[in-house]
């Protein structure tokens, strides 16, 4: 056997073990990142019932701070607008002209469109539906186009 062949075998093993070592290290890092991302969260469900349609008479604009959503009813049409400020996540309050954020002064109109302040996006609208038991159900995991109403 020629001496340089011996060296190349040694080099091969060096390479293989390096790949093994660094590969394992990379795998360890990735699995730690996976570990840090929770699979279960303990916060309240994003889909919830808010009551019968008749609990919300026409003209209602009711902010529910626990679920961070504003229930709007105009005539027979209902919608749910997020009250989480799209700027930095504060809870916006209902104001005369729509919504106003206490943290950085973002302002929105009645439909959640930005009218002033640093907010980059309008307030999202959530899907409203009627559950089989006759209650209005809101799903915060499903956004709908602003202006999309659910007719009760």
């Amino acid at each position: 056997m020629k001496p340089d062949e011996t060296i190349s075998r040694r080099r091969l093993f060096t390479w293989l073990s390096s790949v093994g070592l660094f590969g394992s290290a990379a795998l360890a890092v990735i699995s730690n990142l996976v570990f840090f991302k929770p699979r279960v969260t303990y916060s309240p469900s994003a889909r919830f019932a808010i009551g019968k349609p008749e609990d919300f008479p026409p003209g209602t604009r009711l902010a529910r701070d626990v679920e961070r959503v504003c229930i709007v009813r105009e005539g027979a049409r209902m919608a749910a607008i997020s009250t989480t400020c799209t700027h930095l996540g504060c809870i916006v309050a209902i104001s005369d002209t729509g919504f106003a954020c206490p943290c950085h002064g973002s302002r929105y109109d009645q439909d959640g469109t930005v009218t002033g302040g640093p907010a980059p996006k309008p307030l999202p609208w959530f899907k409203v539906s009627l559950a089989p038991n006759g209650e209005i159900e809101i799903d915060k995991n499903q956004q709908v186009e602003p202006g999309t109403y659910f007719t009760v």
Partner: protein, 431 residues
């Protein structure tokens, strides 16, 4: 008479026990000669962090202002008071606030410990920042100290993150909304922003998971990271030739980076293939001369140690006095329905929040990223060697002006955010 073969008497052993134990612990008597001073620094675990001799410039209070040391001592105070506070704290949304009230009302010295921890934390953020300013304005980040500057920038960031994670723990209104605002800023980062925020909070909103995560980061992960980085920071100060100083301070300094000096150890060593190196050959940077060489250095024992002791006593005294006079604030317990108006971040992030009020992405992510990036790159951009070791050197007018402008802009934003912002983040007069 066989006394000569008898082992030393047990009586003697007992009689000499105290002095034997003493001398086995302490290798040197209290030094009275230069040799003993050197030996004391060299052989003691705690003292060997120091060089045997230091340059006089290192000891000039007006040069360093002791800011690095003050940062270290504040960190030590924070570790000690933090560990004590851990004995009474529970990272639970239902208990944390009550534990704060307990610290204030029933735990012996509880309020005092909490004050010390809070004021030291604020102090550390401020002093670490000032330390960075000192290093910049004296040009101390120049070759060969570039990488230590980079470590210093990381130390500043870790300090800020430590302070930020600690901010949530009292679980009062201030804590909750400051963290809500702060983590939303992280959510604006491109690509991974939303993921990052979710992983940091462990949930979609600030709650029990976030409190637990911040707690673990605050009491275990970040202090460990900070300690390791501090150790490297100090080690490199030594290996980079001590603190920076003017080129011509005292005796003419040898070149700052001599690399490996080949020293022929035995005759004929060069004739073979191998070159033999003396260990001395690996020493980089200005050498410490020992012996009758005229130079401008003094023995660390007692000069450096006394200076350090003075800074330590001063730091502890100031923190003690502050903690006796001012109580750490504690607001109402968390009410997730009602953000305070205005909801403000901790003071050192108010500059950031002020910028965020103009544009969430540029204020919260864009500009800070550029600034931190510039900080990391400064020693690799600014390669001139003139004006090192001098405050506001004329040769460094441009660099100093740019840095000072950045500092002032930040300070002005912090002042505006702190004093001139009222409800709905509108402009108000503090007077």
């Amino acid at each position: 008479m066989s006394t000569a073969t008898k082992p030393p008497g047990a009586w003697n052993a007992i009689r000499e026990l105290p002095s034997n134990v003493w001398s086995s612990i302490f290798r040197n008597p209290l030094p009275s000669t230069d040799l003993e001073r050197a030996s004391t620094s060299f052989t003691n675990f705690f003292l060997h962090l120091h060089p045997v001799k230091v340059h006089r410039n290192t000891l000039r209070p007006i040069y360093t202002l002791g800011l690095g040391l003050i940062s270290l001592f504040l960190f030590v105070i924070l570790v000690v008071t933090g560990i004590l506070l851990m004995f009474y704290y529970v990272p639970s949304t239902t208990q944390a606030y009550d534990r704060m009230l307990d610290l204030r009302g029933t735990v012996a010295f509880g309020i005092f410990l909490r004050n010390m921890h809070r004021w030291s934390a604020h102090g550390m953020v401020a002093v670490v920042f000032l330390h960075m300013c000192r290093v910049f304005f004296t040009g101390a980040y120049k070759k060969p100290r570039e990488f230590n500057w980079v470590i210093g920038v990381v130390l500043l960031l870790v300090t800020l993150f430590l302070s930020f994670t600690g901010y949530l723990l009292p679980w009062d209104q201030l804590a909750f909304w400051a963290i809500t605002v702060g983590t939303s800023i992280a959510g604006y980062a491109p690509l991974l922003g939303a993921q990052m925020k979710f992983v940091l909070l462990g949930d979609t909103t600030v709650g029990q998971e976030a409190l637990l995560r911040f707690y673990v980061l605050h009491v275990a992960v970040l202090p460990a990271v900070l300690s390791l980085l501090i150790a490297i920071h100090f080690w490199r100060i030594r290996k980079d030739g001590g603190l920076s100083r003017p080129e011509n301070a005292g005796s003419p300094a040898p070149p700052t980076n001599v690399g490996v000096v080949k020293m022929r150890l035995e005759p004929g060593a060069e004739s073979g293939k191998r070159t033999v190196f003396g260990l001395q050959g690996f020493v980089r940077g200005p050498f410490t001369k020992v012996g009758n060489v005229p130079d401008d250095s003094v023995y660390s024992w007692p000069n450096l140690l006394l200076a350090e002791l003075f800074v330590l006593v001063l730091t502890i005294s100031v923190i003690l006095v502050l903690s006796l006079i001012f109580n750490a604030p504690l607001e109402q317990p968390v009410n997730v329905m009602h953000p305070p108006n205005p909801a403000k971040a901790p003071w050192y992030f108010l500059g950031l929040q002020e910028m965020v009020s103009y544009s969430a992405f540029w204020g919260g992510i864009g500009v800070p990223t550029v600034m931190v990036g510039l900080l990391f790159l400064v020693p690799y951009i600014d390669r001139g060697t003139a004006g090192v070791g001098k405050w506001f050197a004329r040769e460094r007018l441009l660099a100093n002006t740019i840095f000072l402008t950045m500092v002032l802009v930040n300070v002005i934003f912090i002042i505006i955010g702190t004093f001139f912002r009222g409800p709905n983040w509108g402009l108000v007069s503090p007077f």
